[in-house]
């Protein structure tokens, strides 16, 4: 371990170096960055450290307790896996952005005050947008812009929330805050900020818009940090907030239907991610020690198994250039190692006993029952079966089995296989030795996952759910993969935005042009024409000055109103 080094610093230096270096040196720096960060994290003392003064604010860059340490550790592990997975890429922009992005996530979870948290939150937004844009494909330009709009909205909401909170006398120090009360001023804005990044219903569309569009390597980074930072923030500030139980329940429920009919397998995984975050949000909303432990450990596991699944689909994309179920199939002969690694991820997310999802998900469900949420428990059990259907069966089946697509394929580069193997090994390790992860959880709770009853009932659920899928496929009831666009909530702003654009371009723009033409050109010319015949001013001149003048006036008015 390294003592006295702020763990984010290596990421900043590493990102700068990666932008100027190339070839082998760049690979070495990229690999060393998260490793040095990890060593620095292990050397951090418990409690606050690295206090600095910044524009009159006393910032606490690092505040280590069990919750922040666990997420920071997770982000370093994800960073190491991600860097190895992306070791072959040549894009400086993507490598540097990815390192800064991982560093921002670490900075956010280590933050000891709300201002530092906000700065990390904004860096997270900016750096990740460049990862989206780094894919050499024109289609990602609008996707990245839409992505950034959501991230900026989240940042603005957080800023508004913490300003109002501070104005009304609230402390900015995380150690003073404890659990935030939704009834106190500014706090709803803070929750909204976290909710946008966590993919709350209706704010979830950026996830399913962006993650299928970024590069094979980019999505692996994107999927690890943003939503999990939001889960950390929710677990830190909103445990036991009753509203989250309902929000989380909705999140576990609706994506599983979209996942059945979605053709793009990375989009299926994106819906699956919302479903998994739903489980975490439910756990945080229940708020008991066991529930929060379950939520936090599920976040940890999800980064690993969802990362593994995204990596396996990324490998398929890298080799074949395709991710649609209709284009894929039968790849297991050509990509046997990738297939096996994907199946490990599929078993982990489906909560098969001895794989990592089993314990964490059942902690949340047990907590739901203990707190009297019986109906919720039935819903979560249904959602669990749904996860098996889309992530456990559909993903590996349509990519590697099903009908042979006769695509040319081979195993991906060695670095991709190594990264996937590390992810798979961790999924199995945590699944078989849950104590390793569970001793690091925020609360000490005794929970015995491997009882005969629990293992048996889980196997019953999963095996019969699988049988159901087989029967539905054999009878032709299972909906076939189709090359279609499935509308989601984003239709309202993606189509609605065009209507707005039309309104701005047509009635408003044309109307103002006509008015300004009359007021500035026609009327003066006619008035002056009565006195003296002078030629009318060229209209374009005024039209260009007018909006600027109006803007200036508005700015002046705004400044005056605020100053006095």
């Amino acid at each position: 371990m390294i003592e006295g080094l702020y763990p984010v610093l290596p990421f900043i230096v590493g990102a700068l170096l990666c932008f100027v270096l190339s070839g082998i040196p760049r690979k070495i720096v990229a690999l060393a960055t998260p490793v040095i960060g990890l060593l620095a994290l292990l050397g951090l003392p418990e409690g606050t450290s690295f206090q600095i003064s910044f524009f009159g604010f006393d910032l606490i860059l690092a505040q280590v307790d069990k919750l922040s340490f666990l997420f920071a550790l997770l982000f370093h592990i994800a960073g190491i896996i991600g860097v190895i997975y992306a070791l072959h890429i040549k894009s400086r922009l993507e490598t540097s952005s990815a390192l800064l992005y991982a560093g921002s996530a670490v900075a956010t979870v280590l933050a000891g005050d709300l201002v530092t948290l906000f700065l990390g939150w904004e860096m997270l937004a900016l750096t990740s947008a460049f990862i989206v844009w780094a894919r050499e494909d024109n289609k990602v330009l609008p996707v990245g812009s839409r992505y950034l709009v959501f991230q900026v909205l989240s940042g603005l909401s957080l800023l508004a929330g913490l300003l109002i909170h501070h104005q009304s006398g609230g402390s900015l120090l995380i150690s003073d805050l404890g659990v935030l009360d939704l009834a106190s001023p500014g706090v709803p804005w803070i929750l909204l900020a976290f909710g946008i990044k966590a993919g709350f219903p209706m704010f979830h569309t950026w996830i399913v818009d962006t993650y299928p569009a970024a590069s094979a390597t980019g999505t692996v980074f994107l999927s690890a940090f943003t939503t999990k930072t939001a889960v950390y923030a929710l677990a830190r500030f909103f445990p036991g907030t009753e509203e989250l139980v309902t929000i989380g329940a909705v999140m576990t429920f609706f994506p599983i239907f979209f996942a059945v009919i979605e053709n793009d397998l990375r989009k299926v995984l994106s819906y699956s991610m919302i479903n998994q975050i739903g489980f975490m949000v439910v756990g945080i909303g229940i708020g008991t020690e066991m529930a929060v432990n379950g939520a936090v450990s599920h976040a940890f596991n999800d980064v690993l198994f969802k990362g593994l699944l995204f990596m396996s689909m990324g490998a398929v994309l890298h080799v074949t250039g395709k991710t649609r179920g209709t284009d894929l199939g039968g790849l297991w002969r050509k990509m046997p190692i990738t297939t096996v690694l994907c199946l490990v991820g599929a078993a982990s997310i489906s909560a098969v006993p001895l794989f990592s999802g089993f314990v964490s998900k059942s902690m949340i469900m047990s907590a739901a029952l203990h707190e009297g949420h019986t109906w919720l428990w039935f819903l979560l059990l249904f959602a669990s079966a749904g996860v098996l259907e889309h992530a456990g069966i559909k993903i590996p089946y349509f990519a590697f089995f099903a009908h042979d697509s006769k695509l040319e394929a081979k195993e991906p580069p060695v670095n991709m296989l190594v990264a996937m193997s590390i992810g798979a090994a961790l999924c199995i390790f945590i699944g078989c030795n849950p104590g390793w992860l569970y001793n690091m959880l925020p609360f000490t709770v005794s929970y015995e996952p491997f009882t005969t009853s629990h293992v048996l009932t889980q196997l019953q659920l999963l095996l019969f759910a699988s049988l159901s899928v087989v029967v539905l496929m054999k009878t032709g009831t299972y909906p076939p993969e189709l090359v279609r666009e499935n509308l989601d909530f984003d239709v309202f702003y993606r189509k609605g935005g065009r209507i707005l654009g039309w309104i701005v371009n047509n009635p408003i723009a044309k109307g103002t042009r006509a008015i300004s033409h009359f007021v500035l050109d026609e009327a003066p010319a006619k008035l002056l024409g009565l006195v003296q015949k002078i030629p009318a001013q060229p209209p374009v001149h005024w039209q260009m000055v007018l909006p600027g003048l109006l803007l200036l006036l508005a700015l002046l008015a705004f400044l005056l109103a605020n100053l006095f």
Binding site: I256, F257, F258, V260, I261, G329, G330, W332, S366, L369, H370, G372, T374, W377, L381, F382, A385, G386, E389, F401, A402, H403, D404, T451, T452, S453, H454, L456, T457, Q458, L459, Q460, L461, L462, L463, F464, A465, S466, L467, S468, V469, V470, L472, M473, K474, G476, T477, Y478, P479, P480, L482, V483, R484, E485, N486, L487, D488, R494
Partner: protein
């Protein structure tokens, strides 16, 4: 689909029979092993075959409802392209 999958799998029917056998074993276990029941849902959870039935029917419902969802939200590819 089953026609094609014969090419892809070494022997898909064998895998299916393994699945059916595994299902039979875990279903039968309910009649021989006295499961620990959660007090809150004792009456429902205690029914032999509760979890198998829930898993099987749950997935069937999920898939049927998803077909309905597809009927509502499915549009031609490139719907958002100009």
């Amino acid at each position: 689909m089953s026609q094609d999958s014969h090419e892809a799998h070494a022997s898909p029917s064998k895998i299916h029979w393994v699945l059916v056998a595994a299902c039979a074993v875990v279903f039968a276990a309910d009649f021989f092993y006295h499961r620990h029941l959660e007090p809150a849902i004792e009456k429902i959870e205690g029914i032999p075959g509760f979890y198998p039935i829930y898993g099987f029917v749950g997935i069937a419902l999920l898939v049927l409802l998803s077909r309905g969802l597809r009927a509502v939200v499915s549009r031609e590819d490139g719907y958002y392209d100009d």
